[in-house]
Amino acid sequence: MSNGVRSNYVLDSLVRLGSVLLFLLRILGQCLPALARPALLMKQIYNSGARSLIIIMLSGLFVGMVLGLQGYDLLERFGSEQALGSAAALGLLRELAPVITALLFAGRAGTSLTSEIGLMRATDQLTAMEIMAVDPLRYVVAPRFLGGLIAMPLLTAIFNVIGLYGAHLVGVQLMGIDRGVFWSQTQGSVDLHDVKEGLVKSVVFGLACSLIAVHEGYHAEPTAEGVGLATTRTVVASSVLILLLDYALTAQFL
């Protein structure tokens, strides 16, 4: 990497992609044993999920409120303010909740995972484990991967609910839409299919973000600098992948 010659960017990306996929296969092999260690798994669900709660809830609330404001303004031009509930609910369920939650997750929990694992790599802890005949994939990586995977859909659901409440707050309390109309409109236009779309997206995003985070951490250069670079890569790669997958999934569902 430091031989002064610009290596082929495309080739690098392909190598990285292959590395990530192979890593996934190795992790999957260790997932079942990891499930047999609930204490470890629980700790990771706490780290990835519970500790992201505040930021998710705050963001959900504000996104919902903005949706309420913008949605009301827009719909008012067509005389359809009553449809605010539907607009907010569908917008949240299908797009905003999974995507924004995933982006926030990558930023908060993803970087945390990468730097944790990267630091363990840099201080020889992972090597020490290998010498002690403990597979670091089983003990360190798989629980963190599963933790993120489980946390994401739950966080997304919470974002959805709080977001809807935010839209309700703006629409009903601020803009004066009738409460009953808000909810009946919402219920009338939301279909199980929409909920499913959001759920599938959140699971896929969870898989992608967690995988990238643990992969970058595990393969970071064992220096302080290396860990920092790995963390940056996690955020960038996760964000791009989320948006890419979002398009693919949305097209699939429509």
Partner: protein, 264 residues
């Protein structure tokens, strides 16, 4: 116990080992010395099977390490102990849990039994009172001692020490030296100490090897190495400034470089 025969290993285009031969006898303290970057740590990694030699044989307990399948390799590693330079303690658990880690992962003992075992090992390194501190709260020397306790908790047959004396004050140094000796005499653990602390090692080693330029330059008792006449060995043992290892990094002729006027 450990036999290394004609090992060749290259990394990053650079040939590190060019035909290395060494033997570690059971129950001995064997010192492996050499200049920085000379491959001492790499040798340990060859022994634990973390890397594989390009050519030659590495045998531990009579088994060819490179040929072992994953499970057998892990079984082999359970009979070894490795003490890292910086201790490599797991930072998210306290001292007690660190030492208990290998036991909890590999053996199915009751917690009360594990507790006694851990306290026993901590007592051996003199840190029983520190059982509930976190690694971040330990000094370098203490961290290394905890790592030692962890390395012996599964009663390994061979213990490898990677630069155990680096960065320690005289007191801590003396402590570690004594502990290494104790582990060997009291528990009969075969010890391989990798270091470049000539003086320190001489006091405890039964047998020494000096790795220079990818090969064993000298082997024998510490006294033998000290009295050696070979120029490379002489320079290393006495810390001489000039000898086969030059002081000056390769550069252009001094005069011509000085006289050249600011051409980039």
């Amino acid at each position: 116990m450990v036999a290394v025969r004609d090992v060749h290993y290259a990394i990053g285009g650079r040939e590190l080992f060019k035909g290395l031969d060494l033997t570690v006898r059971r129950g001995s303290i064997t010192a492996i010395m050499g200049p920085s970057g000379g491959g001492k740590t790499t040798l340990l990694r060859l022994l634990t099977g973390q890397i594989v030699a390009d050519r030659g044989s590495v045998q531990v307990f009579g088994e060819e390490v490179a040929a072992l399948p994953r499970r057998a390799l892990y079984a082999l590693r359970q009979r070894l102990g490795l003490l890292f330079q910086n201790g490599a303690l797991l930072t998210d658990m306290d001292v007690f849990d660190n030492v208990a880690f290998p036991v909890r992962e590999h053996a199915d003992l009751a917690e009360t039994l594990i507790r006694k075992l851990v306290l026993l090992k901590l007592q051996a390194v003199g840190l029983r009172g520190a059982a509930h501190l976190m690694p971040a709260e330990l000094s370098g020397g203490m961290a290394r001692r905890v790592a030692l306790a962890r390395a012996i908790v599964m009663d390994p047959e061979v213990l490898m020490y990677d630069e155990p004396f680096v960065g320690l004050d005289p007191i801590s140094l003396g402590v570690i030296l004594r502990l290494i000796k104790q582990m060997n005499t009291a528990l009969g653990i075969t010890s391989i100490v990798v270091s470049h602390d000539v003086q320190e090692l001489a006091t405890i080693a039964d047998e020494s090897y000096l790795i220079l330029d990818g090969r064993i330059a000298a082997a024998g008792t510490p006294a033998l190495l000290r009295d050696s006449d070979a120029p490379g060995v002489r320079q290393f043992m006495t810390g001489g400034a000039e000898g086969p290892v030059a002081f000056n990094y390769p550069a252009r002729d001094y005069l011509s470089e000085l006289l050249a006027d600011g051409d980039e």
